[in-house]
């Protein structure tokens, strides 16, 4: 009997899918679409609150990823932008009666201005030097606000923080008695941030940032002025972060330096991106969806006895991630799903 094995001809069956969108965009649309339906199905307010927190962190992390993930710089000072944005919108509202909707745009521009001021000299720094400088800048701002009660007539109220006076249900004042409007606001903000990231990734800016991440000298030789593109992306990222800071202040109707400018929020933004997959459109959303519930659960069950336990869990998750999924959880997950649906592997 002829036992000669015939090598199996491996036909590369590349299913040419005629999807209207690329798979990653499709995932984004489906996830955000399903989320939009949640308030109609679930009325438990703790659940909605938790979802808002996930979406908030996903949004902040997406804003962080917009520059840091694509250009490969680890900023642990992004909270200076959320702080600037939050304080700007709250103060404009309490002092001048400006609607927080307009105030948050002002806050965004303030943060963008701040980012240009800080980014121009610091974005030349590489690796740990950049990270340390960003931490220093954010901490300077936090400590200054914490110790300043009054700045030329602007009542910053130091460490005490600012309370946004309650106005009841008032759309103009960005205040609602139910959590559901906040849910939709942050959902829309996240959708816009994801869309902006997607747009950026496919534009000249995205390619320039990835080139700078790959090799700065080579990027320069290809006509890319690194300062120009990193500053631009940094400013957009700061703008988005500031809007998130304003949302946070309106949602809790309270803002203080520690929560809104502290290092912890900066670490959250970075770690979620890194674990989810930095430099990808959906990585930050995935990272937030993994980490926020873990942190909430840890805080809920062990909060009283082990303060800061969620940070230990972050640490462990980060170690596991760096060891097993150095590019973020989204890459193995993406491969798994593309195999499952027989799609041609796509990136990001």
């Amino acid at each position: 009997m002829n036992t000669k094995t015939i090598p199996l001809e491996r036909k590369d069956v590349e299913k040419t899918t005629s999807l209207p969108l690329r798979p990653s965009s499709l995932v984004a649309v489906v996830v955000l679409g399903v989320l939009a339906l949640v308030p109609a199905l679930v009325s438990d307010s703790f659940f909605i609150h938790s979802l808002i927190m996930i979406l908030f962190f996903a949004y902040m992390s997406t804003a962080w990823n917009f520059v840091c993930g694509y250009v490969g710089q680890l900023s642990l000072g992004h909270t200076m932008f959320s702080g600037a944005g939050g304080y700007c919108s709250v103060l404009l509202f309490t002092q001048l009666g400006v609607s927080p909707w307009i105030g948050m745009i002002f806050g965004g521009f303030l943060a963008a201005f701040l980012s240009v001021l800080i980014g121009l000299p610091t974005f030349r720094l590489k690796g740990p030097y950049f990270t340390l400088t960003m931490i220093a800048c954010a901490e300077i701002l936090r400590i200054w606000v914490e110790n300043t009660n009054d700045f030329y007539g602007i009542p910053l109220k130091g460490a005490e923080g600012l309370v946004v006076p309650s106005m009841g249900d008032d759309v103009w004042a960005f205040q609602f008695t139910s959590k559901i409007p906040y849910f939709y606001i942050i959902l829309i903000m996240l959708a816009v941030a994801i869309f902006a990231t997607r747009l950026m990734e496919r534009s000249k800016l995205g390619y320039c940032l990835k080139a700078i991440r790959g090799d700065r000298d080579a990027a320069e030789a290809l006509g890319i002025n690194p300062t120009r593109y990193t500053t631009l992306a940094f400013a957009i990222s700061a703008f988005m972060t500031a809007l998130g800071g304003s949302f946070y202040a309106q949602f809790f109707r309270y803002i203080n330096p520690e929560r809104n400018m502290g290092l912890e929020l900066s670490i959250d933004m970075a770690v979620m991106s890194i674990i989810g997959g930095q430099g990808t459109v959906l990585g930050p959303l995935l990272g937030a969806a993994i980490l926020v519930p873990i942190a909430e659960a840890a805080r809920g069950t062990l909060g009283g006895s082990f303060l800061g336990l969620h940070l230990v869990i972050y640490g462990l998750a980060l170690i596991a991630c760096v060891l097993y999924f150095p590019k973020g959880v989204i890459h193995p997950l993406g491969r798994f799903f593309s195999r499952l649906f027989g799609l041609k592997e796509t990136r990001g």
Partner: protein, 244 residues
């Protein structure tokens, strides 16, 4: 006809070392000029001054008559000079096509146009089958070719190539020579720094020899390599004496 690139009395000093001293040479339209010299002769310094990575202390560098000395690398690229690096610097986590597209964005913002151009370029480089491979996974020689292609995507008038066949096998070196000639056939002038004499001899229309930062000879490759000053620079005084 005005030369595409003209260096006049260009000097560069690093502390106590005179890296390039009063160098004056030019590259003609459509010419392949070889820049040679022993290690430390100042070839790469001269190269980096043209590419905008160093600012010359004195002298002028003109591209089609316009002074470009001291401009930034991205302005030099914009002006129409592409370059490759001695150690190739691919964008590791981007695919071949994406790497090439980065070059294309220097001239055009449209992603689709750039993708098409990049696909064409990958075929030109003989890398069409590898176009969706991440640059990290390429062989050293493919990375070199990719870098050449990336520079070509910026649509340069003049291409600066630094040690294109370093570490390549003889057959790869042959392929690279072919490729460089194909680039010239597209109407691009080339300035090439190279150690491998065989490559320089077969490619260059003319060579310029630098030694201790000074230009010691220039002319057609065959003539230049037999000049005593050049032999002295490469092999030392005694070699020249023993031949005489």
């Amino acid at each position: 006809m005005t030369p595409i690139l003209e260096l006049a009395n260009v000097s560069k000093r690093f502390g106590g070392i005179q890296a390039v001293k009063d160098a004056s040479f030019s590259v003609g339209q459509g010419e392949i000029l070889g820049l040679i010299g022993p290690n430390g002769a100042g070839k790469t310094t001269a190269f980096n001054m043209i590419a905008g990575f160093f600012k010359p202390d004195t002298g002028t560098i003109r591209l089609e008559g316009k002074d470009i000395a001291g401009k930034k690398p991205w302005e030099i690229c914009e002006a129409g000079i592409g370059r490759t690096f001695q150690l190739s610097k691919p964008f590791g986590d981007l695919t071949v096509v994406e790497n090439l597209m980065v070059g294309g964005f220097a001239r055009n913002r449209d992603r689709r146009v750039n993708r098409e151009k990049a696909e064409e370029m990958s075929a030109f480089l003989g890398m069409a089958a590898k176009r969706n491979i991440e640059a990290n996974n390429l062989t050293a020689f493919d990375r070199r070719k990719l870098e050449l292609g990336r520079a070509l995507c910026t649509e340069p008038k003049l291409l600066l190539m630094d040690e294109v066949v370093a570490g390549a096998t003889p057959s790869e070196a042959g392929e690279m020579v072919e490729l460089v000639l194909k680039v010239r056939a597209r109407g691009i002038s080339i300035l090439i720094v190279e150690h491998v004499m065989k490559v320089i001899m077969s490619l260059s229309d003319r060579v310029v020899v630098l030694d201790y930062g000074e230009m010691i000879a220039s002319g057609p490759p065959k003539e230049v390599v037999s000049q005593p000053a050049v032999l002295k620079a490469y092999f030392g005084e005694r070699y020249v004496q023993s031949r005489a």
